[in-house]
């Protein structure tokens, strides 16, 4: 991860965030999930070169990548206090941004939450539970997940359609 950060390899960074979410679907550890969100956000930030033109971009990026390093170290050491300290730092740092950069970063974070939620839902955790874990609404998750192929997985078809339609007809029988 650290070398991907240095090389600004957004593909590798994105893959890593997906791996983290993969494991987090089981443990549902909010710290791990938050780390996946900020790593995925970073991959999106790096991917879109034009945002480097924003005022204060350079200093923000430096602090952001340092913070990810600290978060990973804290997770490795299972140091909850240190982890929270860096989460608070990056949250405050984003809040202290101004202008377009602030709007952009907040938007990237929100979209990253929804993206990661969709992955967890895809893994079999319910929509409400997933939305709660990521701190988003079911509205956002439903809208995003609907555009993925989650509904097309064969194992998800649990009743022949004709049987379900018959059930619906019975429900509305007079």
């Amino acid at each position: 991860m650290r070398s991907a950060l240095t090389k600004k390899d957004f593909v590798k960074i994105k893959i890593l965030s997906n791996k983290i979410i993969h494991n987090a679907s089981i443990t549902q550890d909010p710290n791990v999930i938050y780390t996946a969100v900020i790593i995925y956000s970073l991959s999106k930030i790096i991917e879109r070169e034009q945002y480097k033109e924003y005022k204060n971009w350079g200093s923000f990026y430096k602090e952001y990548s340092q913070c990810i390093n600290h978060l990973i170290t804290a997770l490795e050491k299972d140091d909850e206090v240190e982890f929270q300290k860096h989460v608070d730092f990056i949250t405050d740092r984003i809040d202290s941004l101004s202008g377009q950069l602030k709007i952009y970063i907040k938007d990237v974070f929100q979209k990253a939450r929804v993206n990661k939620a969709s992955r967890i839902y895809e893994h079999g955790i319910s929509m409400e539970k997933t939305a709660k874990i990521l701190g988003i609404s079911v509205w956002e998750l439903a809208e995003y997940a609907g555009q993925t192929g989650i509904g097309d997985v064969n194992l998800g078809v649990t009743m022949p359609l004709k049987q379900r339609l018959k059930l619906a007809e019975e429900v509305f029988e007079k």
Partner: protein, 220 residues
């Protein structure tokens, strides 16, 4: 009195697709109550009223709630306590059903559990659920275990004795409601493509239905 119990997903879906007028017609046809739990109300009305993007949809649903098209079950204090107990039992059971080497997987939350509990309390009234997990849990928990095992690349054991708790629930989706509306001539738009477009609209806003199922529904 008949009851149809709604999870949050189908109502969100109908609202986002501008199909609530069809829900009103379906309610008239149903001759019973469309029920929601307090957890669902919070998700479909209270929450979107705080998010600009979804505020209008939330207002539309609030109007339906105010008009009694969708309503809370009329429960006594004792029944409310019973509902809470059943909700906790369902949630506990579901969340201790599948185990990996890193512990149990928490599958569902209070809202879904409460909808199931309310169905159970009303002699297994049918449920409208769009999301995949709760439906699979009721209809084929073994498929859910296999799906999770495949997606998570890890061995999952299950407490199969507890599957029975979920076997009596009857689940339909928002798409089946549109099927009923189509069959009974409730769709006002004259364009023959409207029915099919509605099915896709619902799929793209979170109803867990496959392309094959939609194609089959379109032919019927």
């Amino acid at each position: 009195m008949k009851h149809l119990i709604f999870d949050s997903g189908p109502l969100i879906n109908f609202s986002m697709n501008n199909l609530l007028h069809i829900l009103i017609k379906l309610k008239k046809e149903f001759k019973g109550d469309f029920l929601i739990t307090k957890e669902v109300k919070q998700e479909i009305i209270d929450r979107p009223l705080t998010i600009k993007k979804y505020e209008l949809s939330g207002i539309r649903l609030k109007e339906l709630f105010d008009r009694g098209i969708i309503k809370h079950a009329n429960l006594s204090k004792k029944q409310v306590d019973e509902l809470r107990e059943r909700r906790e039992k369902i949630m506990q059971t579901a969340n201790n059903l599948f185990k990996t080497n890193r512990g149990y997987i928490h599958l569902i939350d209070k809202g879904e559990s409460a909808a199931l509990a309310l169905s159970q309390m009303t002699e297994y009234s049918p449920l409208v659920i769009d999301e995949r997990t709760a439906r699979m849990l009721c209809e084929n928990p073994e498929n859910l275990r296999k799906l999770m095992e495949k997606k998570l690349h890890t061995s999952i054991t299950s407490n199969k004795n507890e599957y029975d708790l979920f076997k009596n629930f009857k689940v339909i989706r928002s798409t089946e409601l549109i099927y009923i509306a189509h069959k009974r001539g409730m769709i006002e738009i004259k364009d023959p493509r409207a029915y099919n477009a509605m099915l896709y609209g619902l799929k793209f806003k979170g109803c867990s239905i496959s392309e094959d199922e939609i194609r089959e529904m379109s032919r019927l």
